[in-house]
């Protein structure tokens, strides 16, 4: 269909009657696309962001290597977008208002301003995410952005409107309230960049980052137009997502969010069941208010509107982050905020086994956890019979695979030594003289030599098999090897640093 009405512009440079084919017809550069749509570049950007249209990589770049190519179908998709017409209307309307004001026709200007054309994004959202799960799958960036905007200062100069920021705040609170109420928070990690959360909603893992509750710095190396367009779409999307989520738990949508009510209504079923936790003044309240109820705890804080006071006798834990404590209640435990989060100072998103390096702290924590489960585990260095089989340990999931390998290696060596000892004993028993045993040994050593020889030939064979690979495969192989090497180097560096740190500590 598009081949017929699309490439009108193409005809200009191709000459009449000559129809383009292949990549030249399928892909269009950005400049040509902008001309084709007859919009400004900024409008084109906005459209692309809202419609979720991105450049494609043609197999053959007809117009040049350093250009951005869009698929012609995508551009036609944009050309049929009603929003395009709407943007033109808005532009025309702005001109009208400006003209009226310039002619001091306040009446007309007011009337025009009252009837400003607006647009809604619901249809676009439905188009981009036909099912709810699609929307949830793409929600990571949305949540991160909304949470970031919620923490931004409203600057008129940068066109960040106060309303937008309030919207973002409201939406983020609603989202957190939902997550907290449905107890779907899975992982949390406090990092320098902020706090990472991972929740599981309808089987989708959604991860987002909230900045620390501090004043964010507005830098000037950021184009706020782009950010605002994204945030506009994300605000709309999150609104619909929240509506659907609240609808699914039978709660009226704009929910009444009062932390006091939440605290009272908190269902106790999870990690912090039966915990009554009090937050001191210096700990970041907002994030903990989200995390603790999400895991089923009851929270209060110092300040206005808190459900219960610090002096409450039922408080089991108090979260503090200051060096000295004024009045210490004996009935409660004092905890630092990082201990609220599953493994403190360790990212739950890292697969230690895949990385090939386990920080010592992770092991300590594992040991603590298992100790808490009343499992007696051997301390490192202490070997007890029955437990030294790495396989069983692996089954129990106590040690990781790399560790298991090391252990297996150790065990093999031990058995070899043992065997040697037994052999010698046997020889003694059989009365074999030392000289014969020597000759035997010579034989063995020759065998070993052969083994070494095979080792060198093995290395060579590696070289040789590379020879018979096709170039494509060889390059791939080499690239993979480089990747592996890099990973190994990284681990080596970590281990070295660790060694140095320990050396400096002891020495």
């Amino acid at each position: 269909m598009w081949a017929g009405n699309g490439p009108n512009i193409m005809r200009q440079d191709a000459g009449r009657g000559k129809k383009k084919e292949g990549n030249a017809a399928k892909y269009i550069t950005r400049t040509k696309a902008v001309h084709y749509l007859q919009v400004s570049l900024s409008t084109f950007r906005k459209l692309c962001i809202l419609k979720g249209i991105f450049p494609r990589e043609p197999k053959k770049k007809v117009e040049g290597n350093h250009k951005t190519y869009y698929h012609m179908k995508d551009i036609l998709f944009l050309a049929h977008e009603p929003l395009l017409e709407k943007f033109r209307d808005i532009r025309a309307h702005k001109k009208k208002v400006k003209k009226a004001l310039a002619r001091k026709n306040r009446d007309l200007a007011d009337r025009l301003l009252n009837r400003e054309p607006t647009y809604k994004l619901d249809r676009l959202i439905l188009e981009r995410y036909p099912t709810f799960v699609d929307a949830l799958r793409d929600l990571d960036d949305c949540l991160t952005m909304v949470h970031l905007f919620a923490a931004l200062p409203a600057v008129e100069g940068e066109r960040i409107q106060v309303e937008r920021i309030h919207n973002c705040r409201r939406l983020s609170h609603e989202w957190q309230a939902y997550i907290s109420r449905t107890h779907s928070l899975r992982k949390t990690f406090i990092s320098v960049k902020g706090i990472y959360y991972q929740a599981e909603v309808e089987g989708q893992k959604i991860t987002w980052l909230t900045p620390h509750a501090l004043q964010q710095v507005l830098t000037d190396d950021v184009d706020f137009n782009v950010m605002l367009t994204f945030s506009e779409f994300y605000v709309a999307l999150l609104g619909f997502v929240n509506f659907k989520l609240y609808h699914s738990i039978n709660v009226k949508y704009p929910p009444i969010l009062d932390p006091r009510l939440e605290a009272l209504a908190a269902e106790c079923r999870n990690l912090f069941r039966n915990f009554k936790i009090f937050l001191s003044r210096e700990v970041p309240r907002e994030s903990l208010l989200f995390v603790i109820p999400a895991f089923g705890g009851v929270v209060s804080w110092e300040g206005d509107g808190s459900p219960f006071k610090e002096s409450d006798e039922d408080i089991t834990h108090q979260i503090v982050d200051r060096p000295t404590q004024g009045h210490v209640f004996l009935s409660r435990e004092y905890v630092q905020p990082q201990w609220v989060v599953p493994p403190p100072h360790l990212s739950p998103f890292v697969d230690n086994e895949a990385e090939g390096y386990i920080p010592e702290y992770a092991e300590t924590i594992k040991r603590l956890q298992s100790a808490a489960k009343k499992q007696v585990l051997p301390m490192p260095g202490v070997e007890s019979q029955g437990l030294d089989d790495p396989q069983t340990l692996l089954v129990e999931g106590i040690i990781d695979r790399t560790e298991a390998n090391e252990a297996a290696e150790k065990k093999r060596k031990l058995t070899m030594l043992e065997k040697q000892y037994h052999d010698e004993l046997n020889m003694e028993l059989q009365g074999i003289t030392y000289s014969t045993s020597l000759s035997n040994k010579n034989l063995q050593s020759s065998v070993e030599n052969v083994k070494e020889d095979t080792m060198t030939t093995l290395e060579e064979s590696e070289d040789l098999s590379k020879v018979s690979m096709s170039r494509k495969k060889r390059k791939l192989y080499e690239a993979m090897k480089i990747g592996q090497e890099r990973k190994k180097d990284k681990i080596k560096l970590l281990k070295e640093r660790k060694k140095n740190a320990e050396a400096s500590k002891t020495g």
């Binding site: 991105f54 188009e127 990092s191 320098v192 190396d221 100072h345 990212s347 020879v467 140095n500």
Partner: protein, 702 residues
């Protein structure tokens, strides 16, 4: 204060006409006397009535100062008010000031003892200056000192009355000087309009006053139409709910389906690792040197995030790059081209081809077994006798040696005198003759290794009669000459000969002198069948079983049928420059070595393109060789190594040849940038001979 004083001065000037001020001034002018009077007055009777004072001042204007008197200000001001009320309207006459110098710069009188002249023309003496302490003390004593200002013109001190100060205050505030004046009093039309006769205009009332306006009506109609059409609406549009249940039921998902191209979801951002914690383990924190070394890196390689350590959560600052990182993500989302790429998550070892174990492919040459030493220059070429007993070698030092293979004994040495290019045994076992190319000549040399009967035949064969000059007078391409020194035939060419190869039957042989010549030994005859060749020929070989001839030019291999005398096939190597060629004993497979270190295997039944290209050597391949009976082939190169491969050719046409790299043979040393110059297999054993530029020949055995 200065402004106030200026205002006061201005006011004073304006009021100069009034009697009141004049009286004041006069009083002040006669200050010394007046002061005494006042003191007397005040000292004399406090009960002196204000009315008295008023009457007194009215009567004799110059006497009785109200200014310096100690009387209550209120009364004084009342009194003055009253008086000013009386006199303000009536007194218009100019009353001169005490000084009469007029509007001249006062500095003219700066150095004089007088300040000017009074009305009578008498000098007015300057008053004695009060010193600072005095004036200060006077100021401290006198509560009204702040109202006093000095009039330079008249050289006197004036005290403003309370009323005057009030007026100044009002003027400073921008109000009328007098509180009693109402600037917005209703207008009273004093003119009496009744019974005055004519109106101001006598024009009749125009018609338009009585006809409804056409333009107004038009405008109204316009509005009405606009309202009817809905262009103008008065009620605000209804607020639609901003959010609603968008994904009501997913059954309608099919019709919502995204149009256009398939959607490629953006890759998710990388999640935080251990090092991003606010208090990571020690090993994640780089040392200062490492951080400094980041500066030396390229910007792309530089780590984006440098882990830091904070003691407690309380001390973690806001992340300064939060906005920037989010923005970068936005840019990635809408500016980065997206393509679906298959991510291979496999063990790289699995990419290696499954080759049979080398153990199963034995025997093949593996270790150096013998060395043949004797040459003094790089050994350029070797050739093995078909019986497998003798080996001939030619070197740059100009000698040809024949060795006994099993003992490494050098049997014979001939000094040809020129660097040997190529050497080749006659393939017939009963004809132990060597073809040697050296310089422009090719020698057919009797090695003397055969028995007596054979020797006699060879002698006969190698006898050449003096060739008569050609009838047509043109010089022949090659002249067959009897060489007396070694009792052999010398074929003199016009140009340097590079290679000599025998036909399988031992009668014909070919030489490559840029042109390709085929010689017949029995008839001592030379012919040049390939008049026109594309490209510069590098080497030429006969097919091992059929009458087919291979010519390798720098880029291609051309295959000719000698019987039909036409081109059969052209093999495209795709390498930069061919250096050597070898034909499989079966005759259907060819290997080609190139000067860019690549070796190509051609299956002639399969295609004219190479079946497999092996990039083995980093330097030029000098020679390639097939074994006559074992499925082995080898390549040797200037990098001092020789590769041995297993190359199995199956009789089943559907099965491709199996090529397995077996061994890298090392041992030669580099000399003058050259490594191994030639390699040949033993005709019966799986042994490989290599000739090195280090003038050593090595034998590798299994």
């Amino acid at each position: 204060m200065v402004a106030a004083a200026a205002a006061a001065a201005a006011m004073r000037k304006s009021r100069r006409s009034s009697k009141n001020s004049d009286r004041l001034e006069q009083e002040i002018a006669e200050n010394p006397a007046a002061n005494e009077d006042v003191e007397e007055a005040s000292g004399g009777g406090e009960e002196s009535q204000p009315s008295d004072a008023a009457s007194l001042s009215e009567d004799e204007g110059s006497q009785g100062s109200p200014v310096d008197s100690e009387e209550e200000n209120g009364e004084v001001s009342d009194d003055e008010d009253h008086r000013s009320g009386e006199e303000s309207d009536s007194s218009e006459e100019e009353v001169p000031s005490r000084n009469t110098i007029g509007d001249v710069p006062l500095e003219w009188y700066k150095d004089e003892e007088h300040i000017g002249y009074d009305v009578a023309g008498k000098k007015i003496k300057k008053q004695a200056r009060k010193d600072r302490i005095e004036s200060f003390l006077a100021g401290v004593d006198d509560a009204k000192n702040w109202r006093k200002i000095y009039d330079e013109y008249n050289d006197e001190e004036v005290e403003l009355t309370k009323e005057e100060v009030k007026i100044i205050g009002r003027m400073l505030k921008g109000k009328t000087p007098h509180a009693g004046v109402d600037p917005y009093a209703p207008y009273v039309d004093w003119f009496v309009w009744d019974d005055k006769g004519h109106p101001l205009s006598n024009a009749p009332e125009p018609k338009r006053r009585f006809v409804p306006s056409k333009w107004e009506q038009k405008k109204v109609v316009q509005y009405v139409r606009a309202i009817r059409k809905g262009l103008i609406k008065f009620d605000k549009p209804k607020e639609e709910p901003r959010v609603y249940l968008l994904w009501g039921d997913d059954s309608s998902a099919a019709e919502n389906k995204r149009h256009g191209l398939s959607y490629i979801p953006a890759p998710k951002p990388k999640l935080a690792g251990h090092e991003e914690s606010y208090n990571p383990s020690v090993e994640y924190i780089p040392t200062q040197e490492e951080i400094n070394s980041y500066q030396l890196m390229y910007e792309e390689d530089r780590p984006k995030f440098i882990p830091r350590r904070f003691e407690s959560l309380r001390s973690v600052p806001a992340y300064e790059k939060a906005l920037k990182e989010n923005f970068d993500r936005c840019l990635d989302l809408y500016l980065c081209p997206r393509t679906r790429k298959k991510r291979i998550n496999i063990d790289p070892e699995s990419l290696k081809p499954k080759l049979p174990s080398r153990k199963d492919l034995r025997p093949y040459p593996r270790t150096c077994y013998l060395e043949y030493r004797g040459h003094t220059g790089p050994v350029k070429t070797i050739s093995i006798d078909v019986s497998g007993q003798w080996m001939a070698s030619g070197s740059s030092d100009g000698t040809v040696r024949v060795w006994e293979i099993e003992t490494s004994r050098c049997l014979r040495v001939w000094n040809v005198g020129e660097a040997i290019k190529h050497i080749s045994w006659n393939p017939l076992p009963e004809l132990p003759v060597l073809a040697i190319s050296a310089g422009h000549d090719v020698l057919i040399l009797d090695t003397g290794l055969g028995n007596a009967e054979e020797q006699a035949r060879i002698k006969e064969l190698l006898h050449v009669e003096e060739s008569k000059p050609e009838e047509d007078g043109s010089t022949p391409v090659v002249s067959w000459v009897q060489d007396d020194k070694y009792d052999c035939i010398r074929l003199k060419h016009l140009k340097a000969v590079t290679t000599v190869e025998w036909h399988r039957k031992g009668d014909y042989f070919t030489t490559v002198v840029p042109t390709i010549l085929i010689h017949q030994l029995s008839k001592k005859h030379t012919q040049n069948p390939f008049k026109k060749l594309h490209g510069l020929p590098v080497s030429a070989v006969f097919h091992p079983t059929r009458s087919i001839f291979f010519i390798s030019t720098k880029k291609n291999i051309r295959v000719y049928d000698l019987l039909k005398q036409k081109l059969v096939k052209k093999l495209e190597t795709g390498v930069r420059e061919i250096s050597s060629i070898a034909i499989h004993p079966g005759g259907d497979n060819v290997i080609v070595g190139s000067k860019d270190g690549k070796m190509c295997w051609f299956d002639m039944d399969l295609s004219s393109k190479s079946y497999k290209t092996l990039k083995t050597h980093p330097k030029d391949i000098t020679n390639v060789a097939f074994h006559r009976s074992y499925p082995l082939f080898a390549s040797c190169s200037d990098d001092c190594t020789a590769y041995v491969f297993h190359g199995m050719v199956y009789s089943d046409l559907n099965q491709n040849p199996l090529i397995v790299p077996l061994e890298i043979l090392r041992g030669h040393t580099s000399s003058d940038g050259r490594g191994v110059l030639d390699c040949k297999f033993h005709p019966r054993q799986p042994w490989l001979f290599t000739a090195g530029a280090d003038s050593i020949i090595k034998l590798y055995c299994h």
